[in-house]
Amino acid sequence: GESVGLHLPTLSVQEGDNSIINCAYSNSASDYFIWYKQESGKGPQFIIDIRSNMDKRQGQRVTVLLNKTVKHLSLQIAATQPGDSAVYFCAENRNRDDKIIFGKGTRLHILP
């Protein structure tokens, strides 16, 4: 398969355990945040988003937490499965230029 990022931080998690992927953002004025999943050889896929007026949002097996005080975003995946193996990106909307800025990503590796 293709390598999305050779120098990405890697998180290894036992199948069935919960995964927590962290992201620090830079701009305190950012008001919209997104998590993407990218499997090998594919384009990034939207997982979940959150606006700055919330601190938690839940989806199916995923939860995003936003801590504006320390500018930190996390993605929690419950009961991690082999199909969760991918690179996960956070993205933020920096109001000043109205663009979405993507982080470098974290590779999630599932242990059998």
Binding site: Y36, F89, N95, K99
Partner: protein, 112 residues
């Protein structure tokens, strides 16, 4: 579901050739984007478009041009391909500014 399609999954071209990468979205989105993705560098914005016939330079426009003649279609053009343009090219679209971007499957381009 949003669908973003790209004309080719893999392309092999020779140095100096003109290369066209096509992207089509079927959700009547206003905005379309072209990124390239390289190991260790993450997603880098090449060009984007907020409307038909409009284009804006992203962070790395040199060596590229774009065309948006119809709302659903956004083309990336490499006028004279070079080996340093070997990369994964990703197209995305969003409904409005700074909203979630939805990605196509990517085109892996190899320039020899």
């Amino acid at each position: 579901d949003v669908k973003v399609t790209q004309s080719s999954r893999y392309l092999v071209k020779r140095t100096g050739e003109k290369v066209f990468l096509e992207c089509v979205q079927d959700m009547d989105h206003e905005n379309m984007f072209w990124y390239r993705q390289d190991p260790g560098l993450g997603l880098r914005l090449i060009y984007f478009s907020y409307d038909v016939k409009m284009k804006e330079k992203g962070d790395i426009p040199e060596g590229y041009s774009v065309s948006r003649e119809k709302k659903e279609r956004f083309s990336l053009i490499l006028e004279s391909a070079s080996t340093n343009q070997t990369s994964m090219y990703l197209c995305a679209s969003s409904l409005r500014n700074a909203e979630t971007q939805y990605f196509g499957p990517g085109t892996r381009l190899l320039v020899l």
